[in-house]
């Protein structure tokens, strides 16, 4: 027993009230062509009056399709995920698909459970905005419904599609920007062991080597006190102290800026700092953060495009790599003479 006033009206109630058959109501509410204009509007009027709403469960069960796409996010805290989700929703909307969102609160096991729930709900496709799920897990899901992952996997799944930005090019752009400003002692603040982080780090090392600065290519781990060490070196005014830092993401960059602030190290006067991801905090930070923008909404839209193609026909998994863009702001400047 639901605690509602009156039982929820069904297609049956509408049919009886309108004096027609159930099938006709079904056709009318879905706007099928084979219903005369007069009958349709009469039926719709009755449906409206009764407060009839199509039951998505029954509809989905009968049709074998739900018109639902699931969006699975690592977690809800990151606005990066939110913007990809927006892209998905807009594109889905354009195709008459509805979107439901789930997330794993940054816990892989929970994430996998949520994925299972989306499958049980019979979504017509899933966009996984996360790099936390193993390729096997994605592939297993992809055996039941089209799946596209937005993010950079270590080993690409075989059946799920993948969309990610070109981390190497983004990282290279940052390093070249710093080099052009006259920096040579540029440190990389590494953020994780994930594939995207690794790609950025690798590109940093290559770009440094290409500039003949191989000996200077230094990598510190953000989670091992990297920020404190950098600030300490700057304060010590030692010969080899860094003048610039390329952090693997904006969060690490922000932490570094904070550490510098608390220690009295001026950014960018004493130390230039660049991040990656163009997240919201980068624009709120003072100085505003130089960073790399990933076309998030576009990635979401592309994901739906791939999904739609696979919903119609069986196709091979695809990988799409989109171009990032350097965003130069106030946290990077020429080093002191």
């Amino acid at each position: 027993m639901t605690p509602s006033d009156r039982p929820v009206p069904t297609i049956h109630d509408v049919a009886r009230a309108a004096g027609v058959s159930k099938s006709l109501v079904s056709l009318a509410v879905r706007g099928d062509a084979g219903v005369s204009e007069a009958t349709r509007s009469r039926i719709l009027a009755v449906a409206d009056e009764l407060g009839y709403r199509s039951n998505a469960l029954a509809r989905g069960l009968a049709r074998g399709r739900t018109q639902l796409v699931g969006v699975l996010l690592s977690g809800l805290r990151n606005t990066y995920h939110a913007e990809v989700a927006r892209g998905v929703e807009e594109a889905a909307d354009g195709l008459g698909l509805d979107t439901i969102i789930a997330h794993g609160a940054y816990d892989a096991a929970l994430l996998e459970r949520r994925l299972g729930r989306l499958l049980e709900l019979g979504v017509d496709g899933i966009v996984v905005v996360s790099a936390m799920l193993a390729p096997e897990v994605l592939d297993r899901a992809a055996a039941r419904t089209p799946v596209v992952m937005v993010g950079r996997p270590f080993t690409p799944p075989e059946r799920a599609c993948v969309i990610h930005n070109h981390d190497e090019r983004g990282a290279t752009a940052v390093v070249e920007h710093l080099l052009a400003q006259g920096h040579s002692r540029i440190v990389h603040l590494a953020t994780s062991r994930r594939a995207a982080a690794r790609a950025r780090r690798g590109a940093y090392e290559e770009a440094m080597a290409a500039a003949g600065l191989a000996a200077e290519a230094r990598v510190l781990e953000a989670d091992e006190g990297g920020a404190e060490r950098i600030v300490g070196e700057v304060l010590s005014r030692a010969a080899g102290a860094p003048t610039a830092v390329f952090a693997g993401n904006d969060r690490a960059a922000a932490q570094l800026v904070d550490t510098a602030y608390d220690a009295g190290v001026a950014v960018p006067a004493d130390l230039s700092v660049a991040g990656y991801d163009n997240s919201e905090i980068g624009a709120l930070l003072r100085p505003r953060l130089t960073t790399v923008d990933q076309p998030r909404e576009r990635m979401g839209r592309e994901a739906v495009r791939l999904l739609a193609a696979r919903m119609e026909a069986r196709r091979d998994a695809e990988t799409i790599v989109v171009e990032p863009a350097l965003v130069v702001r106030d946290s990077t400047a020429a080093p002191r003479a």
Copy 2:
């Protein structure tokens, strides 16, 4: 035709493979008591081997309940909403309920449409974390399934429950904190016409009046250049220039801090700034923002408690008001002598 390898197995396939009836499979997978241990484990083994997963659509349709609670957020950008959602999810999990999330991208019309979708999906209850929906809209939804709104409504709905923090007490705490620090020229930076903003503003005016500072109670609108005016006055060093600002939320406070930074006004030395909401940016900002914390996860959990009570039995709508807590950080200090 879905593009999957093999058709998704149903209860029927499991029954045939295990040599039992469909009903027995149904009972076994749900862990019903009336199935012998031997049969159950045999059935489960077969189900597992076939990769059987219960179809949530069929289950929901047959049972009349989906075990699903919907969480409807104004939008995804705000981590405030995300944390309330976490509270909802944890509490729901404890009751064996699954959670699906939807949002309106800060657009009231879209939000209402999403609400309709959740209803169509047959969710067993809805937590609306938004103040963007009219009470009639909430009540209409509440006629079909339990609804609780987390946020402060202008006029309370009649059938939907409400949970919000005590804005008056939070705002009063901020003003009293500033007064205690020695400020008397405290300006309020108003953020919107919403009920919560109004309550905070009203409490500010009362607290100022109570301190005999009625003549000083000044309110500027954030969206009408309020921040610029305040900073301008501070710069002018005019007699009545404010020494402290209570902003209606952290976002407005952050903008004010930025405006001050860009104009060379030091916070808190030249101007103390306090916000409301204890959002993530408040802790990232330098100086760290003095603000008011709402117990977000708790609000989410309370919402589920109310929902659960209403799922079991028809009950009157309730309003729960939770206590906020002042968080003193670095953006407020005694005014210059």
